[in-house]
Symmetry: C2
Subunit: 343 residues, 2 copies
């Protein structure tokens, strides 16, 4: 931030006042003679002038910028959403700045402060935890447009998200319908206070009158990565009575599971059915194409942006929070089939 060209420099070079230069350069001029305009514009180009957004925003009280906070840049679901949202916001004339938190609440709070200090006009967030939202609730209460991109509808903050509970319910129901009675659940959300998927899993069991065996519910120690899914398998398969199906709370976990099965001679789906969550791109390209639940990024980003615009434009007093949940679809491929007959 050193040798920058300012309006003042152009004014000096052309002999006009700072004011005139400013008026010309931003085209908001009522009546400036062609001659003047050309002189100033030429000078600006020669000097490679670029307006200082800081100064500009300071006076205009607008940054036309929104912030997106993502818990994890390696999750293609999140980055795809971010990418779509950025594009659409651009169409509305807004810039986007993205911050990553690495699933860390402290960094999340820091990112929140940094973005606010930078005066972004709204914040979209993929929070680390679905339950610890007090800081966000407080922010929204104070009149700041905050929007969650995942979570359970609580009505305190605007939320646009898929209905995780419903997705999980459908998927578990699919498995139960196939005849499975021992369905393991690899619940990566548990560690982050994301309980919707487990709820759906439980509810489906109830609907089928099947008891949940909690020994089959395993929380992977290291997030949603494939290695994490792989490593969790030793615990899952340690059960006295092995499961006949596994529901992983993310496709990436399922990929690790598939690898474990191959290495350990467990046939999928013959011996074990495997289902995932999110329908990431490669899931259809796996050796055993994965049965999963869709993640409708496009509708989500569209609805999020639309809502965000109304929030930003409702100067001062925000309308009461709204929740939009999109029901994900079951994507049936070949990784699940009825269990082998009882021995």
């Amino acid at each position: 931030m050193s040798h920058r060209v300012r309006l003042k420099d152009i004014a000096a070079k052309t002999g006009f006042s700072i004011n005139t230069v400013s008026v010309v350069l931003r085209g908001s001029s009522p009546k400036i003679p062609e001659a003047t305009r050309r002189i100033i514009e030429t000078a600006a180009r020669e000097l490679d002038y670029l307006p200082n957004a800081l100064a500009r925003s300071l006076v205009s009280q607008r940054t036309r910028t929104v912030g997106i906070i993502l818990s994890n840049l390696l999750n293609p679901i999140l980055t795809l959403c971010a990418q779509l949202i950025e594009q659409q916001l651009a169409e509305h004339g807004y810039d986007t700045v993205i911050a990553a938190t690495g699933n860390d609440l402290v960094r999340e709070q820091k990112a929140l402060d940094t973005l606010r200090a930078r005066q972004v006009e709204a914040i979209l967030i993929y929070p680390t935890s679905h339950t610890r939202l007090d800081h966000l609730v407080a922010l929204r209460r104070s009149g700041y447009p905050v929007m969650l991109l995942t979570g359970a509808p609580a009505g305190e903050i605007d939320l646009v998200s898929i209905d995780n509970r419903s997705g999980s319910y459908k998927l578990t129901g699919h498995l139960l319908g196939l005849g499975h009675r021992r369905i393991a659940f690899l619940d990566a959300g548990q560690a982050h206070g994301n309980l919707e998927k487990f709820d759906g899993y439980r509810a489906a069991h109830e609907a089928f009158g099947v008891a949940v065996d909690t020994s089959l519910v395993v929380v992977p120690e290291a997030g949603t990565s494939a290695p994490s899914g792989y490593r969790s398998m030793t615990r899952v398969m340690a059960a006295a009575a092995r499961p006949t199906a596994i529901l992983a709370s993310a496709d990436s976990l399922a990929i690790g599971i598939l690898r474990w099965c191959r290495e350990n001679g467990v046939e999928v789906p013959g011996e074990l059915s495997v289902a995932g969550f999110d329908d990431i791109e490669i899931s259809a390209f796996l050796d055993v194409p994965l049965t999963t639940v869709s993640y409708p990024s496009h509708p989500i980003s569209e609805k999020a942006v639309a809502r965000l615009m109304t929030l930003i434009e409702s100067a001062g007093d925000l309308p009461p929070p709204e929740t939009v949940t999109i029901d994900p679809e079951l994507v049936v491929r070949s990784s699940c089939r009825p269990p082998a007959r009882r021995r």
Copy 2:
């Protein structure tokens, strides 16, 4: 950007001057009585004061922020690097803002301007094209710290990257060494003026005294995704004499290839060897673990950040550009083996 709390508000509430409040709040006070300090700090907390970074930077002439421009948020190689870089910059007291361009030169230029207008102190960029760098060269010449995260060493801009040519050379050499003589090349970089990988491919052929059959060099129409690799296969396999091996310029492409092979009864690696590039996480988890070339994100991000710090700190006159290339390693797994004996 409405009802924000300013120093003025705290001053009004406590009866001290704006100045005193400022001094206290940023702890840079020489000697302020405990009493005063407590009163002001309490008021600040009650009002939920957050300094306006715009105003602050305007006067300090520092933003302590660097920008990262990524061509594609869906490429885990790029996002991992970004994540690592962000973390390390944070340790140096710098914030990071990320912008995505969707592989579009116009959006890239726009992102560049936006970040500069925001007065970021340096820009790291994963450019869309390796050849069209004029705008970046000009920027660097004007004294702005710009750093490329991929590209061919040209000496005009700082560059920290893997040596794509060498990686490609090693991989092609591996295949040639295995006995392959008809090696197809799926060159996604070609479309973006990224010629290093092709160079390595060609050089290895020369070293082995094998002629390159250009009909085996295919440019996928739709980037580096798995579907793109899948679709390219019809063209690759249309050749009169089919290749015995395929080198894909990205693991994601290779995943699409693998899928195509499975659906079309082509056995890998028995009938066709397949190699990729980048060693993304799932590559080791595929049904046929992929032979590929590593992408050392950690060394890259470390070197990039180190260099960036010296650039930022060398106020005014930047040192001449430096190039750091890291030699990637061959990662041999099971997707490649010697070709079947000639019929």
